[in-house]
Symmetry: C2
Subunit: 379 residues, 2 copies
């Protein structure tokens, strides 16, 4: 205890937390901070928890710029549970839903919906390894769809939907787990947004849902109770005992984000971090592979590789030696990935960029020594 | 901070935590305790979290006495989500399920099941205000039911099903949220047990499910993904990102329970606590009302009242003055309730018993002074 060096995590989630927030939640769990009871012991129907719960909702409302037209919900279970709740609530019996398949999780969302009813795949870039966003002119939208579901950022492929479609007659639904707060999201353009909290907002196991009030009113055919948005909205996200510890953690993270400057500052940092890392990679095209089309690059997840699995292991080891972890790519695709979520300091991205440069220089040096070009030019 | 006196919570959940566990989780959230990363930052696919997750499952297995015939699952969302998952997984299309309605939450479980299919109410004591368990000779069981659901303890009514039915041809399912670890539960007798963790096991927002492996195999018609037991079981409860912070809190509470002596000691304490509080109430039948039939009394929730709402407010104030809180009855029934969950020290129940005695004595004294009997006897 106390001996291990502080590590910097580039993991795709659960993501890193600022030290000051960790100190605040550590102290905040003690009874001395909670009026004689730990926050874990607060009744979910009591005043103290009620204020905390409300504060979390209000912070989300301010940070995301949510207008009174929309309701903010805190639901247990993460984004995957939303894959099931969205069609169960929004697609009437016999109806169909549109899905834009831009990555692994977008496909999973469509598969969940396909289990219980009809879907239409608007477009898919799976044939291209999800290395690009299918261009909008190729989207085949169904004007009678119950909703149109898209994923604003693809964590495994490292692509981002920079040009969001404008809402028309069909309700627009988006999974914004990985780039919420990292972009200026036009909330009013959407009928339903959801985000697993563990990337940009705090703890794993909690989903934030932003839903248009008029849509809630129209959910006559949707499920009641814990699997229905309507009943959660009516109860102010306290339909049953909420995961109070997770709401506490979320609220502390949101407080930090607001104190740091809110969404505007988070968007600024996201751009600064992504520029640092992509620029470093682009400086060494002979060393690093980037398969994502440049205009579809994600500010949240920088996906790259080297020219062999051995070199990638060497990169991971060099990063670990400098206290940087979580840089392995998703197990389904391999390679490398740097996830740059809201709590990642710009200085953290700078450290990674410096490593990318240094590794490339060492790498070229090592190559020149170990494998001189035939003919011995330059020797 | 640091100025408030430590309070003793008799709340029906989220329940109290031992001070040593709160200190342990407070320190355990810091990066110094987590190998340079906070446990909140651990990847849910990484080794460190994998060990924690496995340790929590193994502790549950030992504490509950779960044989290899059964699987233990950790699911997000609490017991209410199980109200929806049980029928969705276990009742085939066109099938019916048996429900024993012994209290508010038992009725809610049956209502959830009735929304999506047929149920048979085996028996109900609602007409008697749930003040007793319907006697088994009046249960009308359906031999073709998909399963038989019961609630082993009723937190609002304060009753407990002391004589559990033996499993026959119909799979036996039980909500054991409020008395798990407070009784010797014959796990092998059940096909599925579930418990919201926030009463006896730790944090709110997590459900522990114990399910017979042969039942999982038979769930061909059940839902896939996050709402299906099968996929959670196949993935070792890591189907999607689990609520890692809640699993951490759960594991620390279970470690404490094991160190204290495990289930045997928890059951002993539960009996000792209940005896202290019921004996004190029984000593003053002129002051306290107990509407629950004596043989159905719960060891987890002691439900009682005084003879007016004013007297009950006075009792709550007297308790608060001594640092005892959470003693108001459920908002649906009023009165008073002392919840005595696993982390409640026997000394805590002794403090409450002493208050029950002292309040009764003061109460009688006050009555004698303020309302002397006509004729002035004793004056």
């Amino acid at each position: 205890m106390g001996e291990s060096r502080r590590l910097l995590s580039f993991s795709a989630g659960p993501a890193l937390w600022p030290d000051t927030v960790l100190e605040s939640v550590s102290e905040g769990l003690l009874p001395s901070a909670g009026g004689g009871l730990s926050v874990l012991e607060w009744s979910h129907r009591g005043e103290a928890y009620g204020r905390l719960h409300q504060r979390a909702l209000e912070r989300l409302r301010r940070l995301l710029g949510v207008e009174p037209s929309h309701e903010v919900l805190l639901l247990p279970g993460g984004a995957t549970q939303q894959f099931a709740m969205v069609p169960a609530n929004l697609r009437p019996p016999g109806g169909s839903a549109d899905y834009l398949v831009t990555g692994h999780w977008a496909r999973r969302a469509s598969e969940y919906a396909a289990r219980t009813g009809a879907i239409n795949v608007v477009a898919s870039s799976e044939d291209e390894g999800f290395s690009r966003i299918p261009p909008p002119e190729r989207w085949r939208l169904d004007p009678r769809a119950a909703y149109f579901h898209l994923t604003t950022n693809n964590t495994i492929a490292g692509t981002q939907l920079h040009r969001l479609p404008r809402r028309e007659a069909v309700p627009l639904v988006a999974d914004v787990s990985s780039d919420v707060l990292l972009r200026d999201l036009p909330v009013a353009n959407f009928d339903l947004l959801y985000a697993g909290a563990q990337k940009n907002l705090g703890p794993a196991g909690l989903a934030v849902v932003v839903i248009r009030r008029s849509l809630i009113e129209a959910l006559a055919h949707g499920p009641e109770g814990v699997l229905g948005y309507r009943d959660h909205a009516r109860s102010g996200s306290r339909l049953n005992t909420p995961p109070t510890a997770l709401v506490f953690l979320l609220e502390r993270m949101l407080a930090w984000i607001e104190a740091e400057g809110g969404r505007e500052e988070m968007v600024r940092r996201a751009r600064a971090r992504a520029a640092l890392v992509y620029d470093a990679l682009d400086r060494h095209p002979d060393v690093y592979r980037l398969s994502v089309r440049r205009e579809d690059r994600s500010v949240a997840n920088v996906v790259f590789g080297l020219h062999s699995a051995e070199e990638e292991r060497a990169f991971l080891a060099a990063a670990a030696a400098e206290g940087m972890v979580g840089l392995a790519g998703h197990r389904s695709v391999g390679g490398l990935r740097a996830s740059l979520y809201a709590a990642m300091p710009v200085a953290g991205a700078r450290r990674l960029a410096a490593l990318i440069d240094a590794f490339a220089h060492r790498h070229r040096g090592a190559k020149n020594v170990s494998a001189p070009a035939p003919g011995g030019e330059g020797a």
